[in-house]
Assembly symmetry: C2
Homo-oligomer: 398 residues x 2
Amino acid sequence: MPGSGTYLARAALSRVMEPSDLPGLALIRVLGPWRTMRIIADYEKLDPKSEERVAYYLQEQASKQWSGITECLARWRPRLPNLSPRRDLRFIASQGGGLLIPEASNWPTALRDLGLREPIALWYLGKANGPGLSWPPLRDVVALVGARDATAYGEAVTSELSDELVARGKSVISGGAYGIDAIAHRSALKASSELTLPTIAVMAGGLDRFYPSGNQELLMEITRRCVVLAEVPPGARPTRYRFLQRNRLIAALAAVTVVVEARWRSGALSTAHHALDLGREVAAVPGSVYSANSAGCHRLLREGAACVTQAAEVLELMSPLGDIDTQRPSMTSETDGLPVQDLLLLDALPLHHTTSADKLCALAGLPLTSVQAGLGRLEALGLAQRRNAGWSRDHPRG
Amino acid sequence: MPGSGTYLARAALSRVMEPSDLPGLALIRVLGPWRTMRIIADYEKLDPKSEERVAYYLQEQASKQWSGITECLARWRPRLPNLSPRRDLRFIASQGGGLLIPEASNWPTALRDLGLREPIALWYLGKANGPGLSWPPLRDVVALVGARDATAYGEAVTSELSDELVARGKSVISGGAYGIDAIAHRSALKASSELTLPTIAVMAGGLDRFYPSGNQELLMEITRRCVVLAEVPPGARPTRYRFLQRNRLIAALAAVTVVVEARWRSGALSTAHHALDLGREVAAVPGSVYSANSAGCHRLLREGAACVTQAAEVLELMSPLGDIDTQRPSMTSETDGLPVQDLLLLDALPLHHTTSADKLCALAGLPLTSVQAGLGRLEALGLAQRRNAGWSRDHPRG
């Protein structure tokens, strides 16, 4: 267990810094959260040697120029008067939640793939502190995201995907919004499964208040049975910037991001682009070319997203070695694998009367030896039948 | 003009050999059509030196073993008694058609990309012999293919695509079948355009009789105003093998093959695979995951086909240098291109009351200098407004 000082410092930093504040994150990497907080609070000065290391780290990890501590402090210090990390931690604990930090063993390690953009901490409500709870491995988490104003089509697809993915042992992560997100969470909660975390919601604002308010009931149910996360502290509003940053967390926590429905411009596309940046799998569900809600999905398909139409195809993306039975009916035809000359012969065989092998030579354009051998093969397959002196086509039984 | 002997020989060979008869095609390449026909008719023997060249050519071009002239003759000679190339040429001329051969200047040169599988000749009905008619260049021909049992959705998409592609100067090629093919041809004929060949139909059987008979009227109209092609001679039945081979001609003649609707197993997929083999562009139209008629399209999308939802996207594939205006509304947002700090500031600005720059520092997590500069920029963009001593959000006009 990391000391409570680390929790306090990260709780405070999560309020002082906006998500993905790269100079701040570089400072934390170099000095640790506690000393970073001391510098912001003016208990300590940043020594030139450390500043050099921060500048180097920032350039190295994010190709971004360090603009000096003064500018950063001017950004962070206006928020100092509102800080009370103890109050925040007490509040979240009183709601049955807590703080996840990168130093702790229950930190979702998939977030490390975000590099410098790894969040300072994650506030949670729900089961993440339960005894023996471990975060599902990356390969078992799938993001289902999409339009708020989902169509009946999008809702049906989302519901089926979520239900089957959870039934197959996958956790469904989404953003708790109206539309596709809500259906994904709801179907995951309903699916029959032994999973500890069938669904995970990641919020853009603080967990003191759920947004959107119309999903209050659903999100409460998720906190009771699963977990709701946010990288911003209680009281933080869900701003546009925080929504976009939240999307990177969904993308990082999931092995595959599936966009079920999205308009040409849609937040779901930002999640998909984050996933692409991270080298995660991105998939989109196709739909009618006349549906504005599928235009974003088709845009993703053009950008190289995988086309998925059913849960089995999502599972294939999640386990590329193909240990999954795709359940696609094989739909083989009785003529599959026939050599060309037998196909020609089959085409030449009359359906309703019989003909001689000689005539078949001319009809099929084949030598007599091929016709004779081929008739034998087709007869064995139940595709040709001999009647009296001639041959006709037969249809296979079953 | 090649001599009439070449026409006669190729007319005869197109009846003796099935499409893509590789040893036969290699023989024609080495000896020419006339001497090949003499050998088949037993007027001449294949000398060992020529046989060696044929074997070498076949191996080189098709990685296929030459199995000796005897086996080939056994396949071709049963068809000799039915041969009458003069009668066939007279017949096709009487119908207002003729024979295209690779030696002639009006041969569609795109077929050369088929290598050894280039057809022996093409029988045609229609305008291909008109004065001054030249075959459209490959970049101006698009194949629209798909399911016979098209849905209303597939019909609507096909009709729109065909209409707009022809209006933009492209010829639409297809297979003359029911469903998608028929709609593609019909819409192309209706589209207003100056094109000599708005549409081209390629048949699997001989041109003495149109298949399917229900498309008789449509195909007659195509022969009157455009052109209908077949590589098999008059009288040849449209067998399964010939359908599959016909598909390679459609793929070769078009710069892009668009599959509008196709079941999981569909002839349209064979056209698409031929196009892929030829390095031509392949595109598929997405549809509902619940439509069996889109399952083949989604399969193609998974195999790497381009996702197209409108004619402009097909045109983009046809002219990759992008001289085409895609007509996609740009749908930019007023916040596009704003730096992160201005986005944070915009999020912090209250909608219905005003606030001070100092308070905005804490809300947005930005230093005062950034807030002041940012407010100036947002005001200039019409996104922020100063009222009395404070600031609030504004909405851009228009």
